[in-house]
Every structure is written in C-alpha cells, then in structure tokens.
C-alpha cells in the first residue's frame, strides 16, 4: 500500500518551491496550476510544471498536478503538460459529479496515446469542494479505475455551505469529511483531509490532524513544508502499537504455517482485518 499522509501544494509558477520542495520529503507533491497561478501566468506555469516533472529529484516522490477545472479554457492544456511531463496523478478541482471524471479520463487517454504513455498509466484524484460534490462523492470516487484518491477542500465547501471554519472539533466539516471518507473507502481508494491554512498555528494544525487521523483519512493536503514533519510524526504509531503489530504478524504467520485460518493473541481473535491493520501500522513505522 502506498503511503499518502502528506500532499504538499507547490504553486506551479514558483521557481523557488519547484526547485526545493522535494527536499522536505512529502509523500506527494502537488504542483498547482489552478488557484495559485494568476491567469496571465498560466502558460509559463504549465511549462514550469512540465519541466519540473522531468527533474530526477521528483523521481521517488508521487507527483500530482492540480489542473484547472473542466469549466475553464485551461484544463486541456494543463493535461497535456502534466501527462507529457510524466505526472503520476491528475487532480481535478471542484469536482461536482462523475460525468466530469468520465470527460477527464477520455482526454487523458487521448493524450497518453498521443505521447506514447501506456493508456491507464495516469491516475486521477478528485477534489470535492461543494455540497453537490459531497452528495455525489460515492459516484465520483468510483467513476473510473484510474481513481486513486479523493480529497476534500474545506474553504470552497464552507463558502458553498454558507458557513466558516470554527475551532475545536469543527462540526461544520463533519458531514463532508465522513461522506468523502466513506465514498473513498467504498471505492477502495485513498482520502485526503482539508488544508490547514494558519501555518503559524502548530497546535491548531495538530488538533485537526488528530481529527483526520481518527476518522480514518490517509493524510492531509498541506500548504507549507513545516507541516510535513508534524503530520508524519502525528501519524507515527507508538512503540506499544508497533510491538503489538509485530506480535500480530508473528501469530498470523504461525497460524498460516500450521494451516489454521485464525488464531488468538492475548485472548483476541487475529483475523484478516486485524492483520491488515498490523501491516499498516508497521508500514507507517517503517516510513519514519
């Protein structure tokens, strides 16, 4: 299973960040051609992202390009730059319904054929930023075998819902988080939580990370490199959890060698979901 704890936003026309963001070792880098780029700089940013994608430093990091929405004049050119540059995942912003994913994948396939990439090589991610997107999250998440993740974007969603961010347990985001997460899990894809915009508030950021982690999100979209280490540490299992996971795996292997379907450990049944959780724990620990 691929780790997707952190996805760092990098403005597509920011030479400094394009040249250094790999240093911070996020699980994914998301080059942004949408909101972070002024309209008159879209052409230049597209070329910057196209070139950066081919830089050897990004070879070992999952690369994502946020293209402009399908209701703009930019998105098809953005797709050309991203796919021809070798991007791993295309992120569609403001996804409202499954039809948009179908339209996107049709164009992706055409470009893959034209540039010699295997058809199906480019994965897709949808960002949910509205009430209708949340309502349609299940069909969006399962709209294509290319879908690899779904992300909730808080700011636009809350504007659409006529509300704003609060501190504490954030009830205003609870339904959207739960709906998007269930859609992702039902489609067997990953889920990213919202960005936390106040980069000087580590305490608030970590409070929100705990909410996302406890709900079951794979990780969060991030807007500042300093949030990466905080996030990764928060997702790190405790020594006790790692020790228990190792014992679960050992018990499962022993059961397997004896031809048993299930085994008990400390009086509790060790079945496939328990083993899967233990494997995830060990994977998170190994990534530290």
């Amino acid at each position: 299973m691929k780790l997707r704890r952190s996805m760092l936003f990098v403005p597509g026309d920011n030479a400094g960040m394009l040249s250094t963001s790999f240093v911070y070792k996020p699980d994914a880098v998301m080059f942004d051609l949408e909101d972070a780029v002024a309209t008159r700089e879209k052409d230049s940013a597209r070329l910057m992202v196209y070139q950066a994608l081919q830089h050897p430093a990004y070879r070992d990091i999952e690369t994502v390009v946020r293209i402009n929405g399908v209701n703009t004049e930019f998105w098809q050119k953005d797709l050309e730059a991203a796919i021809r540059g070798g991007v791993d995942v295309v992120r569609l912003p403001k996804t409202e319904n499954a039809q948009e994913i179908h339209e996107l994948e049709e164009h992706v396939a055409k470009i893959e054929k034209a540039c010699g990439r295997p058809v199906g090589d480019t994965k897709l991610m949808a960002a949910i930023e509205s009430a209708s997107g949340v309502v349609n999250a299940v069909s969006i998440a399962s709209a294509s075998p290319r879908m690899t993740a779904i992300a909730i974007a808080g700011f636009d969603y809350l504007v659409d819902m006529h509300t704003r961010r609060s501190d504490g347990w954030e009830p205003e985001l609870f339904y959207a988080r739960a709906a998007v997460l269930h859609a992702a899990r039902a489609a067997h894809i990953d889920a990213f939580d919202v960005v936390y915009g106040n980069v000087s508030d580590d305490e608030g950021f970590l409070r929100e990370v705990r909410i996302a982690k406890n709900l079951g999100f794979n990780g969060k979209s991030l807007i500042h490199p300093k949030q990466i280490d905080l996030l990764h540490r928060a997702y790190l299992p405790t020594a006790e959890e790692v020790n228990h996971a190792k014992r679960v795996i050992a018990a499962a292997e022993e059961a397997h060698s004896k031809g048993l379907g299930v085994v008990s450990l400390d009086g509790k049944m060790v079945d496939p979901p328990v083993i899967e959780e233990a494997e995830m724990t060990l994977q998170l620990a190994a990534a530290a």
């Binding site: 030479a15 400094g16 394009l18 040249s19 250094t20 052409d43 230049s44 070329l47 910057m48 196209y50 070139q51 950066a52 081919q54 830089h55 050119k77 050309e80 021809r84 540039c115």
Partner: protein, 98 residues
C-alpha cells in the same frame, strides 16, 4: 519559430530568472546572460539556453537572461515561455519542449 514582438517571462526572485526576448533587425540570434553564478555555471546556463532555443528553432532575435540561480529545468521553462509569447504562439509542439 520567429520572435515577432517583445516578451518577458519569469521573475527576479531567488532560484528564478527573467527572460526578455525581442525581434532582431540584424536577423542574428544574440544571447546575453547575466548571473550571480556566472563564473561557476555560466557555460551550463548558456548551454541550456542555446539548446532550448535550438529545439524551438529560434534562429534570430535578442534574448537577455537575468539569472538568479535557477535550475536547468526552470531555465528551460522560462526561455520556452518567453519565446512562445514573443512568437504569439498558441499551439505547442511538445516534442520541441523536452
């Protein structure tokens, strides 16, 4: 490609560069490069700029580079953007941009 009008791409921020292109009366290709790291990387910067212009088939024009320590990939992108703007080109030949 023929540069038909003045155009600019990039910034003067660290790790970036500013590229100015303009038509040339003489029909020659004149490249001026200014960089804080010209002694260490001047040859490499010129190589990347020249290679990028060659792939775009730019044989004439004035190209002025103000480099602020940009990586090769950034230099390529900014030169391409300035040239495409200077040529008024909308349709990209992606094969010429690699």
């Amino acid at each position: 490609m023929k540069v038909t009008k003045e155009a600019v791409a990039g910034t003067l921020e660290s790790s970036d560069l500013l590229v100015k292109v303009a038509p040339s009366d003489k029909g020659t290709r004149d490249i001026v490069i200014r960089s804080e790291v010209i002694k260490q990387f001047g040859k490499q910067i010129r190589h990347v700029v020249t290679d990028t212009l060659d792939k775009l088939s730019v044989s004439g024009g004035s190209i002025v580079i103000e480099d602020k320590g940009a990586l090769d990939c950034v230099i390529r992108a900014r030169v391409q953007a300035a040239v495409l703007r200077g040529c008024g080109s909308q349709d990209l030949d992606w094969g010429s941009l690699s």
